[in-house]
């Protein structure tokens, strides 16, 4: 059955491997994926440990619906204490790894200690071996996967791996599967690198028994229709996620030149339609009908002829908007480099854009850059800095430390120009005109982020009746809701609701593009309850699934508080409040976030969570969710 997958504990220091079943009681509390990983993290990571030391623990998992008949049940989660922020580390990626992990008999992998020499894990139909990684240490993300497949003699093996950046402990190194599926944020690649763990290879042929197969198939037919009949899915299948960047840039809601401007003007060459012309086709993840992944061959320059996949809208931000560049070729090259080095594109682009502003302001000099004219719009300097960060060369070695540590090393006024929350750089959007999105950025549990809480549909101008139908279930809500994205009222509830939405699908293992993230008509709690029952037999109501998400989110909060997080961390840098937007359409220009209103938003957001005025979960909130005795060490 779908619930008989095990949890494996691997100690890289001793070589011990243990396996345990996952009790049904814990399944009902946390389901799987990110939710159960968060429970494990809170239980297995001791407070105050060095994120890059042997005491940190890595958690890799599939969602509870991974590899079943549920559409887009492809997602892999990876967690641990973040080397970037010191708070929760957590990242999620698509592709084919998680289903393979389940077919190999496992839902969760817990990795402790540190291997004496470079190693990788080989997980094959219920068995786990620690193997020598001498032949792949130093190899790119793409080559590593190929070498492992050849070494083990099976081309269907799926590999999760780090690149050079992870080996070099770049604090925003990611983990990758396939060509472009990245667990990007919070530095999980550095965590693997610190353990001398290059990769995890999996292969499985163990069937997952679907509990009610005919009903599961029939219900998924409905889900497929629901997804493919939404315009947003069709647009994504045609243009990929770059359509979002294009539409948003048209408005003036894109972060440009670090955070000095809010629109990339004269950007025709990097608009989604221009990138579409360079794409050689589209691809999809396991069980997905949207197919939002572009395939491309770099058209010109030193990398001409190289094949890769993407770019996502995040690479448009990283290699166009933020550094002020306007070349499609540069985006494709930058995207390729972060893919092979295993770097988070968002953090990479942000760090370089920040360094460019420091250079133009004279805080960094040409001596600091070893002769590189690190100015906005300098494509060659941008690409060169990607190499230097991955290899930790010169200034790249400083930037590889991430925002706060780099600012401390550079000194002067450099911290004033950092655009970050909780020590994680913001993504490529500008939220000064959109308080709901600003609140999501400020309060995201892993730092500035769009994938933990963003109420993206707030920008759509949906009728209030539509918003009401979405945001008043499974938990009743009769407070204010507004179709106007400039408003402050009602937005804290939208952020709170989206947090639960994203946490829930991260427990289920379903892609967010199949949810109320970009499409108001896409599946939500009601549908997930049905999918869960037909595929696994677990009977959880939509409200039960909400409570699973709430439980996991509170565990994340508890973890962060234990590591020193306070209300001050749920805040934005001064530029959001003090420097008005300059470009864009008329109703976007001249916008800042109002400090007092924003404080009240945070108060309201805490109230919706059942947290006190300092953002600490109230005892009654924890009791209601049954987590008042955590860490309980049940697993």
């Amino acid at each position: 059955m779908a619930l008989n997958r095990q949890i494996a504990y691997i100690d890289l220091t001793t070589g011990d491997v243990k396996m345990k079943p996952i009790p049904i009681e814990i399944r009902k509390l946390f389901l799987g994926g990110r939710g159960l990983d968060m429970y494990l993290m809170y239980n297995h990571i001791e407070p105050g440990i060095d994120p890059l030391g042997p005491d940190n623990v890595v958690f890799v998992s599939a969602g509870i619906l991974g590899g079943t008949l549920a559409s887009a049940s492809s997602r892999t989660h990876i967690g641990g204490k973040s080397p970037l922020t010191g708070f929760i580390g957590s990242a999620n990626m698509g592709g084919f790894f998680a289903p393979e992990l389940r077919w190999a008999g496992f839902d969760h992998i817990v990795i402790k200690g540190r291997a004496e020499k470079p190693s990788y894990l080989w997980i094959n139909n219920g068995e786990i071996a620690i193997r020598d990684a001498g032949s792949i240490w130093g190899q790119t993300v793409h080559d590593t996967q190929q070498i492992i497949r050849e070494e083990l003699g099976d081309r269907d093996i799926k590999v999760l791996t780090i690149g050079l950046a992870g080996e070099k402990l770049v604090r925003f190194a990611n983990v990758m599967t396939g060509m472009k599926d990245a667990g990007g944020r919070s530095g999980m690649g550095a965590l693997l690198g610190s353990k001398n763990l290059k990769a995890i290879a999996v292969r499985g042929t163990m069937d997952i028994k679907i509990e009610h197969p005919e009903e599961a198939l029939e219900y998924n037919r409905k889900i497929i229709s629901q997804i493919t009949s939404a315009k947003v899915s069709q647009t994504q299948g045609k243009l990929g996620t770059p359509f979002i960047w294009g539409a948003t840039n048209t408005q003036g809601l894109i972060r440009v030149r670090n955070f000095q401007l809010n629109q990339l003007e004269n950007a025709d060459e990097v608009e989604p339609e221009a990138l579409e012309e360079l794409a050689t086709g589209m691809a999809g993840c396991f069980g997905c009908q949207v197919h939002c992944r572009s395939k491309y061959i770099i058209p010109e320059g030193p990398y001409a002829g190289v094949y890769d996949e993407g770019p996502e809208y995040t690479s448009q931000g990283a290699f166009a908007g933020e550094p002020g560049c306007r070349s499609a070729n540069t985006i494709l090259v930058g995207n390729h480099l972060v893919n092979i080095y295993g770097l988070d594109n968002l953090e990479t682009g942000s760090m370089i854009a920040w360094a460019m502003e420091l250079y133009e302001k004279g805080i960094l000099t040409i001596k600091d850059t070893d002769g590189l004219e690190l100015r906005f719009g300098n494509d060659e300097a941008l690409i060169e800095m990607v190499h230097r960060i991955a290899k930790r060369q010169g200034l790249g070695d400083i930037l590889a430390e991430g925002p706060l540590r780099a600012a401390e090393k550079i000194g002067k006024d450099s911290i004033k120009y950092l655009i970050h929350v909780k020590g994680m750089s913001n993504l490529h959007s500008d939220e000064r005109a959109t308080p709901a999105l600003a609140l999501g950025i400020a309060t995201g549990s892993r730092g500035a982020d769009h994938l933990r809480s963003r109420p993206a549909i707030d920008l759509y101008h949906l009728p209030e009746s539509v918003l009401r139908s979405i945001y008043s279930q499974p938990v009743p809500y009769d407070g204010p809701l507004s179709s106007d994205y400039h408003d402050y009222e009602g937005k804290p509830w939208q952020v709170r609701w989206q947090e639960m939405c994203y946490e829930a699908v991260d427990c289920l293992g379903i892609c967010k593009y199949h949810t109320v993230f970009l499409g108001a008509t896409l599946p939500s709690f009601e549908e997930w309850s049905e999918l869960l029952y037909y595929n696994t037999g677990l009977e959880l109501s939509p409200l039960d699934i909400w409570n699973v998400a709430d439980r996991a989110y509170n565990i994340e909060r508890l973890f962060n508080i234990r590591e020193g997080m306070t209300r001050e961390h749920d805040w934005l840098v001064d530029r959001y409040f003090d420097e008005p937007t300059k470009l864009g359409i008329p109703n976007i220009q001249g916008r800042t976030i109002d400090r007092d209103k924003f404080k009240r938003m945070i108060d309201e957001y805490y109230q919706h969570h059942g947290w006190d005025e300092n953002g600490v979960p109230r005892p009654e909130t924890l009791q209601k969710l049954g987590i008042e005795n955590e860490p309980s060490h049940m697993l």
Partner: protein, 90 residues
Amino acid sequence: MGISINIHPSLRHLTNEQEVVQTSGSTVGQCLEQLVAQFPDIKEGLFAKDGKLLDYVTVYVNGESAYPEELAKSVHDGDELYIVMMIAGG
């Protein structure tokens, strides 16, 4: 009575800041044609060169998405249209 079109905030500078514009017609397309007739500059914010709605623009009719019929979708007197733009913030 007519058919009202709620204008997306990012397009209101093209409708003299009018939030709601009254039109008439028997399809979404006809109503939008009337909107463009009143405010010609809004056309570029709604339509691609091939005459279809832009990839990130869609219309809701009485709280329901008009997609996939979109411009061909029938409307009636008293209906309320919303111009929805999938900006998404990324």
